[in-house]
């Protein structure tokens, strides 16, 4: 899996995405967001998703942002058609969310996050 990762969003390069290690709550999330270059839609999706993750999964998620232009073979491997596509690899079951992640409720459904 790790070889697919194009860019790990490291905490120091993105001040808004600090991953606190001291508050593990619930299962560890492995998320992969496939984007297509630097289109506004890609950027919007990254921004929206990181915000949601920070709010709801802070501390127990790993987010990989992958540019399909750089690794086009991943499009086939991950059976992608639409972009941006978010794949929740862990925890099971695998789920997908497509779009710019602007509909927070849908993203949360896709991530199986129950807000009670």
């Amino acid at each position: 899996m790790t070889d697919e990762v194009v860019q790990m969003l490291s905490p120091d390069s993105r001040p808004g995405l600090q991953i606190p290690h001291d508050t593990p709550a619930g299962p560890q999330y492995l998320l992969k967001l496939f984007v297509t270059g630097s289109t506004p839609r890609s950027l919007k999706a990254i921004a929206n998703l990181t915000a949601i993750c920070e709010k709801h999964l802070a501390g127990h998620y790993e987010l990989l942002v992958i540019d399909l232009y750089q690794q086009p073979e991943l499009a086939k491997d991950n059976k992608l058609v639409a972009a941006p596509t978010l794949i929740k690899s862990l925890p099971e079951p695998v789920r997908r969310v497509i779009g710019d992640m602007s509909d927070t409720a849908e993203v949360l459904v896709g991530l199986d996050i129950n807000l009670k």
Binding site: T36, L68, P72, K76, V81, A82, A83, S102
Partner: protein, 626 residues
């Protein structure tokens, strides 16, 4: 191509510093639309390659620009489209389920890869890669080998709506990347998207899909990819989602109709922008060699003619046609009611046509090869040596086994592989039962056209059903035929006799006589024309009249002899009478003579007596000087 080079270069730029790029959203180098504006203007035909070519030769007066086409290799299809699919453009192949869309598209790719050296990408939306490989393996396409050789790339696109949710706007860029990657990985020139409309089931936002598909087609065009997009038909629409609005350069419609329980596949070029094309519905079939389209009705009547003659196999019949038989390459129709000896006559032709180094195929729709051989042996015609030497082949098939088009294709295939100089089709009418009347007629026209074009002498038999006029050739194809022989049976005096006559024979003098023929142990024999006082007689009537005439002649002869004898006798009587009369005459002559002599004697006696008396008296009588 430049577009590909650009595409490749930009990601590399980005790769070095992805994050920074992301934070500078102003550069939209990836937008194909934006990129599109910088490209040289595409030529009217939309092919970037042609566009470049035309631009570079602007100063030279260019010849009339013709649309470049990519051969599909599908037999027949390239003929009706004048060269295949439009190069560098997407084409739409649509039809109802099971009409052969996927196969058509696959054959386009496989033939492109194997025959024209153009690698291709197959994007399957419906079937899995392994299913595809299996399905087309039955048609002799080895996809695994082609994939290994980097000539074909298969990619299955699955969309599971159930495990996918939508949040906000999206596009199908991932599909583009996927496709682009597949194309670049083998340098593909051809792409098949089968069936693109499945996307509409996977995504809820139709408007996004439509604009993305539009973009996809333009993208394919810009890359100079010759693409086939398949789509399912629905109702009266060509495609379920109206794809024909976007892919409008070339639209091929496939159809699979069942009429009278016999299915026929048909293909029609609905639209071909910038090109002439056959507009008819062309039957096609799918067999172990893939798709065969029969563009036969487009053939004009311009086949060459031959003055060479070939025998009908029956010498006396040749004699009825100017003494030399049929023209090579002509078509012969032999029609007659059942049991008139059509197969026997046809076998004679086949026998003659497979002699002397020539080859003949006998298509039998009613009898098996061995049955024909056995039956013909009984009339003294041994086909076995010709079969064994490979000069004659009997192909038997049940007419109802498959549709007309399949029959036609089988016949044509056999002709192609066997390359005979003549064929026999026995009987033609069986084929009519395999399809509708008009289909049969159209098919036969095409068959006759092809055979004439190839210079193959063809001998068709046709059954005329009882009750129909003899000249009523039920498939209405007698006008196609150069020679029409009619065999019939005449019933009279409790027996049926076979008669044969040449109804027409183009380009040669032919006998107008109705000839009786016999099927004997030494083959078919035509009898000499027998013209009695009551017209042409056949069979027993002929024999009866012949014997009657014989007796009459004999009787007449006797009569004459009697007459002669009587005359003889009469003559003899007359002769006898003449003899009697002559004798009588002689007798009376004699009598007269005798009477004359007696008178003289008595007169002498008188004189003597007077003299003696005178002497006695002493003085001579009458002067007495003595």
């Amino acid at each position: 191509m430049t577009s590909m080079a650009l595409l490749g270069a930009v990601p590399k730029l980005l790769a070095s510093n992805f994050i920074i790029r992301i934070l500078r959203p102003g550069k939209q180098v990836f937008q194909y639309r934006a990129y599109n504006n910088d490209r040289p203007r595409p030529s009217p035909c939309g092919n970037p390659l042609v566009g470049v070519l035309m631009a570079s030769t602007k100063s030279v007066p260019s010849p009339r620009p013709t649309l470049r086409k990519s051969k599909t290799g599908i037999s027949g299809f390239d003929d009706i489209t004048g060269g295949g699919m439009p190069t560098g453009r997407p084409s739409l192949v649509c039809g109802f389920a099971g009409c052969g869309k996927t196969l058509f598209a696959m054959e386009f790719l496989v033939r492109g890869a194997t025959q024209f050296g153009e690698p291709g990408v197959f994007i399957a939306f419906e079937e899995s890669e392994s299913d595809l490989v299996e399905n087309v393996a039955s048609l002799g396409f080895d996809l695994v080998e082609l994939v290994k050789a980097n000539m074909i790339r298969l990619d299955q696109i699955e969309i599971h709506r159930s495990d996918m949710s939508t949040s906000g706007e999206y596009d199908l860029e991932a599909l583009f990347i996927r496709l682009g990657h597949a194309i670049d990985s083998i340098g593909a020139k051809r792409v098949v998207l089968d069936t693109l409309e499945t996307l509409f089931g996977g995504f809820s936002n139709d408007s996004i899909l439509r604009s993305e598909l539009q973009r996809l087609f333009r993208w394919l065009k810009d890359r100079g990819i010759t693409a086939i997009i398949t789509a399912e038909r629905e109702g009266g629409n060509l495609t379920r989602q109206g794809l024909e609005e976007y892919v409008s350069d070339c639209v091929i419609l496939l159809d699979h109709r069942v009429i009278d329980q016999v299915s026929t596949r048909r293909l029609r070029v609905v639209k071909y922008r910038g090109s002439v094309h056959g507009t008819n519905e062309y039957p096609f079939l799918i067999d172990e060699d893939g798709i065969t389209v029969m563009p036969l009705s487009s053939i004009g009547i311009d086949h060459g003619t031959s003055n060479e003659r070939v025998s009908t196999g029956v010498k006396a019949l040749d004699g009825m046609m100017g003494g030399q038989g049929l023209f090579r390459g002509s078509s012969v129709l032999l029609s007659g009611t059942t049991g008139t000896g059509k197969t026997s006559l046809a076998s004679h032709f086949a026998y003659a046509a497979s002699s002397g180094g020539e080859k003949c195929v006998y298509f039998a729709f009613e009898e098996s090869p061995s049955q024909i051989v056995r039956n013909m042996k009984s009339i003294g015609l041994d086909l076995t040596p010709h079969l064994e030497s490979g000069h004659l082949e009997i192909v038997s098939a049940r007419p109802s086994h498959y549709g007309l088009e399949m029959h036609l294709a089988t016949i044509l295939k056999k002709i192609d592989s066997f390359s005979p100089q003549s064929i026999v089709l026995d009987p033609l009418t069986s084929l009519v039962n395999a399809g509708s009347f008009s289909d049969a007629q159209a098919m036969l026209i095409r068959l006759v056209d092809i055979l004439k074009g190839k210079g193959i002498t063809s001998y068709f038999t046709s059954i005329i059903h009882g009750g129909l006029a003899l000249e009523a050739s039920e498939v209405g194809m007698s006008s196609l035929m150069d020679t029409w022989l009619l065999v019939r049976q005449d019933e009279a005096d409790g027996e049926r006799n076979r008669l044969l006559y040449v109804l027409k024979s183009r380009g040669m003098s032919h006998s107008n006589q109705v000839r009786e023929f016999l099927i004997t142990g030494e083959g078919i024999q035509l009898r000499e024309v027998y013209l009695g006082p009551q017209g042409v007689l056949t069979g027993t009537a002929r024999i009866a009249l012949e014997s009657r005439e014989l007796t009459e002649a004999a009787f007449n002869q006797e009569e004459a002899m009697r007459e002669r004898a009587l005359a003889d006798v009469r003559r003899k009587i007359v002769e006898a009478q003449i003899a009697a009369l002559k004798a009588e005459l002689h007798a009376s002559n004699l009598e007269n003579e005798r009477r004359g002599k007696g008178l003289e004697r008595s007169r002498e006696q008188d004189v003597e007596a007077r003299e003696s008396r005178a002497r006695s008296r002493g003085y001579p009588l009458n002067g007495g000087s003595k």
